[in-house]
């Protein structure tokens, strides 16, 4: 296994289907069968209607930058070599918002509401991170 110097997600029973989806390059989210709300983070009940009947759906991987920041300081040594880098909250067309990185453009080119698409970063043999890049 590759030596990986950054924090890895603390995968639990709720989030396992999401990270398992990333492994096969699918963005999976829970959808409430009662009201249709697509949610993140995963939970046993719907935050909108408290319904328990849930299915996992696969999102298309398109969305917009809701907001973003540019890190100029490495709070974890694993990110020292990447400064400056962009952390964003991306809102997917299906509704959920997730933390991610914007890659494939300079930090100055990122803006709120920029259209982005998922790009898969297989960081180890075990872990794939969903990152986003501008839609060309």
């Amino acid at each position: 296994m590759t030596m990986y110097a950054k924090p890895i997600p603390k995968i639990n029973e709720d989030s396992r289907p999401f990270w398992g989806g990333c492994k096969v390059h699918e963005l999976r989210f829970q959808k409430c069968n009662q009201c249709g709300h697509v949610r993140w983070p995963p939970a046993i009940i719907c935050p909108e209607c408290h319904g328990k009947d849930t299915v996992w759906i696969t999102a298309a991987g398109h969305g917009r930058v809701y907001t973003y920041v540019v890190y100029h300081i490495a709070y974890h040594p694993g990110f020292k070599g990447e400064l400056p880098y962009v952390v964003a909250v991306v809102e997917l067309h299906e509704g959920p918002r997730i933390f991610t990185n914007i890659i494939g453009c300079s930090t100055e080119e990122v803006y709120c509401d920029m259209a982005v698409e998922v790009v898969w970063d297989d960081v180890t043999t075990e872990l794939t991170l969903p990152k986003f890049r501008p839609v060309k």
Binding site: I8, P9, Y71, H72, I98, T107, L129
Partner: protein
């Protein structure tokens, strides 16, 4: 508890060795969940996300925040207890400081401090017989929108301050115009702007004009964070703003005392705020001179 007779005096305290230990960093670095995998850590990053969205929605930014950082520093320069008592700050100092998490520069961030604060709450009846002139809790409001930072719809306001502020003013039986000074929880400069905006002191995006000309500074029409606040005095969570509100109304603030000597109004009502999480909860307290 006081009304029912369970207790007579309640001490509310906060103490931390945040500079000389790694406990604050450890706490902040364990706040995160899976976002750490993307290099997102602590409070600075998430408040910066909120501030960036606010820049987009109502055109705020460093040109507004510099007035907050510099204004509060002027108060700290009158407060011998402040960590930055001997260090002045100009607008250039603010603008030339290094980026931490853009759009936040160094001086958008609060201090990390060793120390503590405490205040005592008792009934108004008991307080009348005590040595110091008491301060009355005239109004209290809370509102906690609570959602995760990534799904929050309140990052650019309205935060909990809007409803909490209305409730506190209603209980105190006064309007915003009766407020003489504010002690605002100021983990970041932007927190001060969005909190005052949500209280209705100015409309979204009009903060830049409102802060111009030293509004919050010594000599200003609405003094804010008169100890220097968490940005320039010391970070003791919600105890920094509330203890300053109490001390000002007691008249125990020395060189920075509100009134003629600082070119401000002698205060009758001071509004204090506390804020938790990533703008996820707000408590507003109106303190009144007894």
């Amino acid at each position: 508890m006081l009304e029912s007779g369970f207790c007579k005096y309640v001490v509310i305290s906060y103490g931390h060795n945040a500079v000389s230990s790694d406990s604050m960093t450890t706490m902040l670095m364990t706040l995160g969940q899976d976002e750490e995998a993307f290099g997102h850590f602590g409070a600075t990053g998430s408040y910066a996300l909120a501030a960036q969205r606010a820049m987009y929605e109502f055109n705020t930014g460093p040109e507004t925040w510099k007035h907050i950082a510099v204004g509060q520093r002027k108060w700290a320069n009158l407060n011998p207890l402040a960590m930055t008592y001997n260090r002045t700050m100009s607008y250039d100092d603010y603008m030339n400081a290094r980026w931490l998490v853009e759009p936040f520069r160094l001086f958008d961030n609060c201090l990390v401090s060793d120390g503590g604060r405490a205040y005592i709450v008792t009934s108004a009846e008991r307080a009348r017989d005590l040595k110091h002139r008491p301060v009355i809790i005239a109004g209290l409001g809370q509102h906690n929108p609570a959602d995760f930072p990534q799904s929050a719809t309140f990052l650019a306001g309205p935060t909990g301050a809007q409803i909490a502020g209305e409730a506190a003013l209603r209980m105190a039986g006064i309007t915003r115009d009766d407020i003489d000074a504010c002690q605002i929880y100021d983990c970041f400069t932007y927190t001060v702007e969005i909190t005052l905006q949500d209280y209705g002191f100015f409309k979204p995006g009009e903060g830049t004009d409102w802060f111009q000309g030293g509004t919050i500074e010594p000599g200003g029409s609405m003094p804010v964070n008169t100890s220097g606040g968490q940005l320039s005095e010391a970070y003791f969570m919600g105890l920094t703003p509330i203890t300053e509100g109490v001390m000002q109304l007691m008249g125990r603030c020395g060189e920075r005392q509100l009134g003629p000597q600082t070119g401000t109004k002698a205060p009758e009502n001071i509004l204090c705020s506390d804020n938790g999480g990533i703008l996820q909860c707000n408590t507003t307290i109106i303190l009144r001179r007894a």
